[in-house]
Amino acid sequence: MTRTSAPVDAPGADAWEGLVTTALLGTDRRTPPGTAPGPDAPLALLDAAAVAAVRRRAGLRPARAAERPQAAPEDARPALPPAAARRLAMLLADRPGPSGGGRRGAAPDLTELLPQWLAVANARGFAPPPQVLPALLDAARGRTDLRPAALEFAGPRALWLARLNPDWRFALRATPGGGAAPPHLEDADRIRQLWQEGLFAERVALLSALRSRDPAAARDLLATTWATERAEDRLMFLDSLREGLGPDDEPFLEQALADRSRNVRATAAELLSALPGSALAARMAVRAEACVAIDHMRSSPPRGTGGEKGPAETPATTPVIAVEAPHECDPGMERDGVVAKAPAGRGERSWWLGQLVEAAPLGTWSRRLGGRTPREIVALPVADGWQGELHAAWCRAAVRQRDPAWSRALLGDPSAPEAGGPGAVSLAERAKLLGTLGAAERAEWVAGFIAAHGLSEAFQLLGVCAVPWAAPLGRAVVDALNIARDAGSYPWSFSGVMGLAERCLDPSEASRLDALLAVPDEPENASPGAGGYWAEAFQRLVTTLRLRAAMAEELGAA
């Protein structure tokens, strides 16, 4: 508010200034206006100031309005149902406690349910009540994993809001085109301008946004400045071509194979090898084929590296895969992205072999190895201890080329007794292989794995399964938890899987868990008190599932 400044009041304002000056200096040094100096001067000053103070307050006038903010864009999505809005407020109010440790109790962990709530709300296309946007933005600010879903749900008004509060700048960066000057992707001039003048983060955001809409346009945009970019930037930009990669990108990538930077060359080669039709893939196939062959008569006198006789004609002999790793890494290989120098502790030749095989199109091998299917090829023994190296390279190739048939073959039978699995494929690699399969097949395989091997190794594999878990997978997990409880261990040995189950189990499974809620009689060999803790853990699981069912119902996603 402004203190009155109308002409009639000007003397009053002056008088007030005089009082303040006198008060600051003290009446010993300065006599208040309109009074005599002496012992009563301070009282006279206080009297005058009291009148003036009340007068100033009573005479307050409103301030002049500043320029009004631009109105926020309309959010055309339907409003959230009231019950869901209340739920959201509760989820957002639940901040993780100061200490992550300690027992988790029987109550659900609301923070962990927020991502799921956002996913459903986004799928249903609801708009949030505007007053929750600050809490939503704060939540997204603290948790980068929440940002994409939270910002999608928050909608246009959140971006409007983020421009007014520096704490929420991340929203402008994170949203494609959400920057201070959001370029419309149709506006070629603006795009070009931002691409040439923007900050690095803005340019990356622009490129990936454009790439997801129009892959060719993004590639062409990158090509305009490619030669002048710094090496680190080239690497990041090149990486954003991973999305929407197609045969059209080959000429650009082929040219990047001659880049000054080794990392850029390696990335270009990796992208090209993911295009089975590319010239690089063909070159790699030729090189890899020269290293791997079927040897029919490994133990008998040499008759050449067979090929004229199919496996069916020689039931007596077992075909074996023979591997002859490359003897040198020639400049051609290096140009195609093969790294010549092996990391410490690895033989050079096996290092080169691995790179050749992983970059060769998987289709090569059927042709090369007697028309066998991937499963038959994986089943073949490999001579001279090359199996680990060869299968690991095939795994990487299957993941890179997203080849379900090969993934299936390399994963093998989930209940196979050898815990290491075929080709000593690590859990991480298996999780990646599972990623190339369809959701149902993935869930089924993991269910089979858990049924055979229990939960102790399953965490990583469960992480790649689609949510909510398919029925067989959910049942396998619950059964395995039940077995673990009966075995007498403590539930926190399985807290990772429990947490996943709370978030991923289908809520309709809750009724199947009722029998597990009671505290069981303690078996003799059980850990003390474990039964009670298990009951508590299952209670939390059931409560969380019920809560998720309620959440879904509130959002109308029956």
């Binding site: 303040v20 206080l46 003036a52 103070a53 500043a66 903010p69 639940d94 505007p130 809560l547």
Partner: protein, 451 residues
Amino acid sequence: MTQQGVRWTADQVLALAPDAASRKAGSKLGAAGPWSEAGSSDEGTVWGLCKGSGSKPYQTVVDIADAAGPAYKCSCPSRKFPCKHALGLLLLWAADDAAVPPGQAPEWAARWAAGRRERAEAKRTGAGSAAPSGSADPEAARRRAERRAERVSAGAVELEQRLVDLLRGGLATAEQSGYGLWEETAARMVDAQAQGLAGRVRELGAIPSTGPGWPVRLLEECALLHLLGRGWLRRDRLPAGLAATVRSRIGLPASADGPPLRDRWQVLAQYDTTDPRLTTRRIWLHGADSHRTVLLLSYGAAGRAPELTLPVGLSLEAEVSAYPGAGQPRVALGEQFTPPAPAAIRPPGMTTSQAVARYGDALRDDPWLESVPVTLDRVVPTPDGDSWQLADADGDTALPLTPAARSRPGLWRLVALSGGAPVRVFGECGHQGFTPLTAWPEGPGDAVALC
């Protein structure tokens, strides 16, 4: 009176929580999982068994029928009051008909509720007969009041002297002397049983560190303190209303003996301020028929929520009685005729110019008034440099927000709600600016609490 007909809102329940940790813990228990055998009776009793960490579930029972506020009983060892189980049970009851079905209270719950009601009844009849005996010795009471008035007068004289010394030496010295001096003077005022003076003196100590313009603010506050002290010393020459205002500003106890005013009171805002010893809850009510805006105060000791809980958006029919003093908004809640229930009515609003004029008028009755409650209609939250203001949508005037309101999260809820469009805002308008407390969107929509 019973409230069985109306289930509460979750907000209403959560406002009972003594602190944020209880609110969180209670929210988690507000789901069917840990509860069994829960139910609610027509008499206003809610009960349930909550599975805790032990083998025996906790027995939780809440009596919501009492107009003075709910009563709780839980077999858990928590010292929080109400405990998380009581909160969880009420949340469950508020949210879910099926989980807490109507029924007959089990023996353990019924026994407690009946015992409680008997005691409450006995107290009421007892209080009725005890009241005359309390004032049995009016002579002694008069002497006590006189003695107190003398001590306050002595304090006021001492304070005057202190202010005179300050102005003789100049306010510039106050910047160096810091808090200590004022703390000591405040302690003297506490000894003089003048809490109102003590509070104002304590605030004087903080003013020199409030940044540019502090001499103006310090002189204003010193002068108003002087005005209050003078008002006390000459109270017999003041009009009765103003004298009562002075007594209440000084901090003398008074009882709400104004005539009861019955109205449909709508809760405009509820917020708590805490200091280490005391939680003070302020609840602003607006009468739909009388158009009066009144203030309920409720106190809680540290760690306990004030008992009275009326979340924004509810409305109840009740009688209130004003405390003495001209221009004082404070009332006491008397008899309640309906339980608080959600209501979609909004208070009528005014422009920013009218709001400022309202404050100026109110100073006539109470020159020490910091702010008045007003509802602004059609204002747009507008950034103004580092600060914010509420600008009239249809004019070129605006009210700046108080410095405190600028740093509260409620500001961003208000800005988000508006989205650049006009909103209706209830708050406190004073010489420091406007403190928004509650807002309503232009279109349909519930009240949004900003505090």
